[in-house]
Symmetry: C2
Subunit: 223 residues, 2 copies
């Protein structure tokens, strides 16, 4: 509650002369260290002492800035969600044809999982805990309307020009688009093991990228 209110207001320029004390930088280091540790070990496996050490900060400071382990986890989640949703908004899909727009969205999502593997691990942790952190976050809920709107627009335009099927639901398409990439990466270790292939190799990554585009575009083709 009162935790985020204690954000340092005194040093507006966050990187002044080589200051011995830099609260904003310390907060940032804690957040990044927490992101790495929570991603590597999960919420349950992550150790607060390790986060403090990784951030090169005393544990006391971590508690001072973020409250407790769960609040810190929520802060990491909010940061990660905001990052991907904002990146999506900068895709400018309206400038493209419905088909190109959809291809762009699908490849963006797929490539984002490659670039930000921690995002998958964090979501898996949060779901193991039944989204109990997310449920008390005001910040995140508003982030998702816009991206569904973007998909709805693409679908409408595609239906109007006859290149997309008419019965596609934006939320289903959103979930399916995320699915085909997310599962591949979230389960990459077990899949690589049971199929005895390195699914992280460049050739496999490219093959999957082409496939997920085919899947979404194939589904959207009118009958």
């Amino acid at each position: 509650m009162g935790i985020m209110a204690s954000v340092n207001e005194s040093s507006r320029e966050s990187s002044r002369r080589g200051a011995k004390r830099d609260p904003d930088a310390a907060k940032e280091r804690i957040l990044q260290a927490a992101l790495a540790e929570f991603s590597d070990k999960g919420l349950g496996g992550a150790r607060v002492d390790v986060i403090a050490r990784r951030a090169d900060v005393n544990k006391r400071m971590l508690y001072h800035y973020f409250g407790n382990k769960d609040d810190l986890f929520l802060a990491v989640l909010e940061f990660s969600y905001a990052e991907i949703r904002h990146a999506e908004l900068e895709l400018n899909l309206d400038d493209l044809s419905p088909e190109d727009g959809m291809r762009r969205l699908v490849t963006f999502t797929y490539d984002y999982f490659i670039k930000a593997p921690y995002f998958i691990n964090l979501l898996n942790s949060e779901n193991l805990h039944q989204a109990r952190h997310l449920k008390r976050s005001k910040a995140i809920l508003d982030l998702h309307g816009p991206v569904i709107g973007m998909i709805r627009d693409l679908l409408r335009r595609g239906v109007a020009s006859g290149v997309f099927r008419a019965d596609a639901d934006p939320i289903q398409v959103f979930i399916t688009n995320a699915s085909v990439g997310y599962f591949y990466f979230s389960n990459i270790h077990t899949l690589s093991t049971i199929f005895d292939r390195d699914l992280m190799s460049d050739t496999e990554l490219e093959a999957r990228r082409a496939h997920v585009v085919d899947v979404v575009m194939g589904y959207l083709r009118p009958a």
Copy 2:
């Protein structure tokens, strides 16, 4: 290693007269309790004491039968993998047309995730730990050839009769089929939260089931 060799050989009929001592039943109770606890809390969050209590067994016995926490986790994993792969083999897809066979496989996979939600949680835990248990399991690797073979057969027949596209790869289809259901359920708590809907309601479950069939079949349609 030598752990599974200590399987009780003395009481072949596993339920004799109300025996005060029944090692096989105890082992089974431990496995089921471990499955529930690992699924609920993840590998890191699971507590050996809780498993012992849930199984109504002394902790010493748990270590006696299963070695240690990691070995127990692997036993649970092997059990879960064997269960789904065996169920798949009983689908008898050869008796159906390629299209009906594929529809059958897709709905089976989807419904399996509803019936066995623990399977998803276990796989997520194993992937968080980079499949390090799976990698030292001989038992599981052989399980996956047959199901890929089933898909390959379906695809061949469908291509031959002109109802499927010719360039579909069996492993990609396997992964995609799993993806569209798995992600929905593994992320059901965060998705339900951000979209403010109960994705576990009957109507939502049915809508998604119809959608995932459409996705796979839509992809496989020839151009």
